[in-house]
């Protein structure tokens, strides 16, 4: 038999399905291995050849581990709530559940053809009520928990109530971090106050401690999408999806107190085998900065000036202190003789915008107040200045100025001729500040000889020992917005009584997504769920926002362990057997979204005793992207120049607008010939006069192409052509007629072309339907087979790198499999007509060595 991939692949796919070959049980007799793919959002476009890259890699590992004696959990499912289905519903009226169903069927068909060893009996869909019942349950646990900062873990809210009943709240307790700095501070109360508070008042206080909480907050509101977006969904002021403008708006908003976990999310990175780039992205996103709050006592007064600095190691380089013009102490501390001058400066400086003050670094302005503070270690007098490079809203509104270590301080000191000393070794302070974190300290008493990284904690220790400062940790991470003004998501299991949110009883879950007449916000701007009729909790109104896309994906790895369990999200036995994901495979674009939330929920579930581990995935592999080759037609800009000059030709070659018009399809061929004749005549004349530099037709064309590509004669806005319209073998050109047919909106536009082709750029970029550069795996499988596709995707290059797809290269892989087949098959001289493939199965040694 020849190698017939179609017959073989169909046969085995059916066999695997019928024999349930990849069904896996919780078999405690064998060691376990859990290999998980990030599950896809089932989009209407289906899979392209880039999608399976990670799935193939994880499938290889899953199969290899099975051969090596492991009981392997290798499941697949769908992250099936999401915006595209909803937007399609808004446009067409088709229910998102229906669209999702159709898309999932298509995905499944495509996935099946690639021969993955998924245990489909464990499939999960985040939009299935039996699944989101548990997403809602986890939400309720978060709602019913607070974060005990002293113990560094989440606890039941009831424990906090008990605490209030016994001790009230003193306000200086670290556990009472309310997470949202934009709220008014909570005032302290005694245990007897607590007892007198109304239920509503008590609930409002508790809401400020819950891990899932409602507050008035500034949110990223996207009017075009009609919803609130999380910080990681906003890039450069526009929505990541669709690029719509995003504005800041104050509204009641559900949030998740991920900030409580900031330090643990950082520390946990040390325990997992993830790439340094993902870890670094998470570290930057969390943005921990350790610094110190330092008090500089006034020389002749009782006040002290507080400064926050991330470089307390440079404390011995402080040559002055600068106050923001807004600083409240200025009026108090300025001696009478300086007052007029100082206050005049303050008034003038306050009028400049913050932006102007920050960006205009060349213009140095400031004034000496006439007051002095004492250095906390040397006790020397340090002058206090006012300068507008310090902003009132940042830190304490005052800085300790270290000209040798900070360029802005250096500019200020140099401008006003304030003396200062170097605090780092081998640095010439006349050239500027040494901001290097690698430097070694000098002129710094007990810090001399230390590297910056070691000197910082040492300096803070000394400040704390002397009682003149303390360690301060700041995080960039903000609490995560949780409620979305959308239809196609999990309903938040909350109802309102007397304007206060309460959790739906566990026994009443799931809160099923109600039917609505339209998938749009109501006329008065309420979310789509407000349209539902007779939808309430025992007569009380439900919350109408839904959960964000990341909710269902933050715990799905647990559901695969025990997908049919109706009484728990997964049984303790299943969790104890499967434990953490051993290998997690997916794209690196989820670094600061899914991959952070999924760690956050795991830590929370661990705190509350539902999980024995607090990191979800031991090892993470980020596959690269398989890119497509697009075509961008160059579009003529009529207002731009119409002639170009060859660097070798002294006279201009005329290619006027008219000439190009002549090249449009359907234009008079004589005009076109005229252009060509003119051009050829010009080149011929040049070649006659300059035989040594003769231009050949091809080089003239090449030059012309280069000129057109580089000049601003063509619009930079992209016009994309369908990939199938690229003439095979003629890279850089597009079939004129086909492209014009495919792009009717541009039929009248003027594109540059030569002979019968449009000129095109061919950028290598992400595959997407909108760029017409998608390669469908179905076509490849039809022609070469799934085994060839799998091998070829692996052969393309290191799995973690991005690389362009090249269908031509697949032939080699296809030949390899035929050769492999032929190792087992003898070529039969009697059957020459069957081609050159082996025909007769001929492995010689006797049949199976071991009955298997």
């Amino acid at each position: 038999m020849a190698y017939e991939h179609k017959r073989i692949e169909e046969k085995w796919r059916k066999h695997w399905k019928d024999a349930k070959t990849y069904r896996v049980e919780n078999d405690t007799a064998k060691p376990k291995y859990y290999v998980l793919d990030m599950f896809p959002y089932p989009s209407g476009a289906g899979l392209h050849v880039g999608h399976p890259l990670g799935y193939i890699a994880s499938d290889i590992v899953a199969r290899y581990k099975r051969h090596s004696g492991f009981n392997v959990l290798h499941p697949m499912g769908y992250d099936s709530f999401g915006l595209p289905a909803e937007q399609y519903a808004i446009q067409t009226g088709q229910h998102p559940a229906k669209t999702t169903e159709v898309n999932i069927a298509r995905y499944r068909e495509q996935l099946d053809r690639i021969g993955f060893s998924f245990d489909w009996s464990r499939e999960v869909r985040t939009s299935d009520p039996a699944y989101y019942k548990w997403t809602q349950w986890i939400f309720l646990q978060l709602f019913e928990s607070w974060y005990d900062h002293a113990a560094q873990k989440a606890r039941p809210i009831q424990e906090l109530v008990e605490r209030f009943e016994k001790h009230g709240w003193t306000g200086d307790d670290d556990s009472a971090i309310t997470g949202n700095e934009e709220l008014d501070p909570l005032t302290q109360f005694s245990h007897s106050d607590w007892a007198t508070f109304s239920e509503k008042h008590q609930q409002q206080i508790l809401l400020r401690f819950r891990l899932a909480y409602l507050s008035e907050a500034w949110v990223n509101w996207c009017p075009a999408l009609g919803t609130v977006l999380a910080n990681d969904e906003v890039k450069d002021g526009v929505s990541e999806r669709g690029g719509h403008p995003v504005e800041r708006k104050r509204m009641p908003q559900w949030s998740m107190r991920i900030t409580a976990y900031a330090q643990r999310l950082l520390d946990g990175l040390n325990d997992v085998d993830w790439s340094e780039s993902i870890k670094e992205a998470q570290r930057n996103w969390i943005g921990r900065s350790e610094g110190a709050l330092i008090r500089f006592p006034m020389a002749e007064r009782s006040e002290a000036i507080e400064v926050f600095t991330t470089r307390p190691d440079t404390i011995f380089g402080v040559s002055f202190v600068t106050l923001a013009p807004e600083h409240e102490l200025i009026e108090k501390i300025t001696p009478a003789e300086n007052r007029a001058e100082v206050m005049a400066y303050v008034t003038q400086a306050k009028n400049r915008s913050e932006r102007e003050r920050l960006t205009d670094v060349k213009k140095v302005s400031g004034v000496f107040t006439g007051a002095y503070v004492k250095h906390p270690f040397t006790h020397l007098d340090i002058p206090v200045w006012v300068g507008d490079y310090v902003l009132g809203g940042y830190g304490t509104g005052a800085v300790m100025a270290v000209p040798a270590g900070d360029q802005r301080d250096w500019n200020f000191a140099t401008h006003f001729k304030i003396p200062f000393v170097a605090v780092t070794e081998n640095w010439d302070i006349s050239t500027g500040a040494d901001e290097s974190k690698e430097a070694t300290l000098t002129n710094s008493v007990f810090l001399n000889g230390l590297k910056v990284a070691d000197a910082i904690p040492r300096a803070i220790d000394e400040l704390e020992a002397k009682g003149v400062g303390e360690r301060r940790i700041n995080f960039r991470l903000r609490d995560a917005a949780f409620g979305r003004q959308r239809y196609w998501g999990e309903p938040i299991p909350i109802y309102y009584k007397d304007g206060v949110p309460y959790g739906v009883a566990e026994g009443d879950l799931p809160v099923v997504l109600p039917e609505v007449d339209k998938f749009l916000p109501t006329e008065d701007g309420e979310p789509p769920l407000a349209r539902a009729t007779n939808w309430n909790y025992k007569g009380l109104p439900y919350e109408t926002t839904t959960m964000p896309g990341w909710a269902g994906s933050s715990w799905y790895f647990l559901r695969y362990m025990d997908p049919q369990n109706e009484g728990r999200f997964a049984s303790p036995e299943a969790i104890n057997y499967w434990q953490q994901v051993d290998l997690y495979v997916g794209g690196s674009e989820h670094a600061t979204g899914h991959l952070l939330y999924f760690r956050f929920w795991t830590k929370f579930l661990h705190d509350r005793g539902w999980l024995p581990f607090d990191e979800p995935a031991k090892k993470l592999m980020n596959q690269g992207m398989i890119q497509g080759v697009s075509a961008e037609l160059l579009r003529w800009k009529p207002e731009s120049q119409t002639t170009g000059t060859h660097p070798g030709l002294r006279t201009k070659i005329y290619w006027s607008y008219e000439y190009y018009l002549a090249l449009l399809p359907g234009s008079a061929s004589d005009q076109r010939d005229l252009f060509k004749r003119n051009y050829e005549a010009e080149v011929a004349r040049f070649n006659r006069e300059h035989p040594a530099e003769a231009i050949h037709d091809s080089s003239a064309r090449a030059w012309m192409n280069a000129w057109m590509m580089s000049s601003d004669t063509f619009e930079t806005s992209r016009v994309l052509a369908p990939i199938e319209n690229i003439i095979p073998g003629s890279v850089g050109t597009v079939d004129v007629q086909k492209a014009a047919e495919a792009l009717p909106e541009f039929r009248d536009a003027f594109f540059f072309k030569w002979d019968n082709s449009f000129l095109a750029n061919r950028p290598v970029e992400k595959m997407s339907k909108s760029k017409f550069n998608v390669v469908n795996p179905d076509d490849i499988i039809e022609k070469y087979g799934a085994d060839t596709l799998r091998l070829y995707e692996m052969f393309l290059g290191p799995i973690e790198q991005s690389k362009p797809w090249d269908t031509n290269g697949i032939e080699g892989t296809s030949r390899f499999l035929k050769k492999f087949w032929n190792l087992f098959h003898l070529r039969s001289p009697k059957l020459p007509s069957e081609g050159d493939e082996g025909e007769i199965f001929t492995v010689t040694d006797e049949a199976p060595r071991s009955p298997n």
């Binding site: 070959t21 890699a57 004696g69 021969g115 692996m794 050769k819 492995v843 040694d845």
Partner: protein
Amino acid sequence: MTEDIEKMSFNTSVSQFMIAVNELAALKCTKRAVLEPLTVALAPFAPHIAEELWSLLGHTASVTGAQWPQWDAQHLVEDNFSYPISFNGKTRLQLEFPIALSKEEVEAAVLANPEVQSRLEGKAPKKVIVVPKRIVNIVV
């Protein structure tokens, strides 16, 4: 191969396969003891063809449960070693000898080599140092 999979260096795994299959094809190898483990090793990458060949080899159970082949160290040993031959510490040429040769046999074979003899210009070397599987240094 095993190491490449563990490291998830799948592109090099596939290249190794291609090399192996080319060599086996050239040898016209039809040994079950070679082809059977090779089928198992290919199964994670190309499961359909592996299943088909596995069943043609006479197995009734899926290749999925077949044991991963263990590599045999004795087959991985290279038979010869190419020694750098140096004169007073400077490498001048390379000579390949079977690893099985003793120090004395290597020394004798090196000194018998015509190119080495011409470099010695008829003089006897002061000393010949043979470090097995590393280097031969001739001190003149």
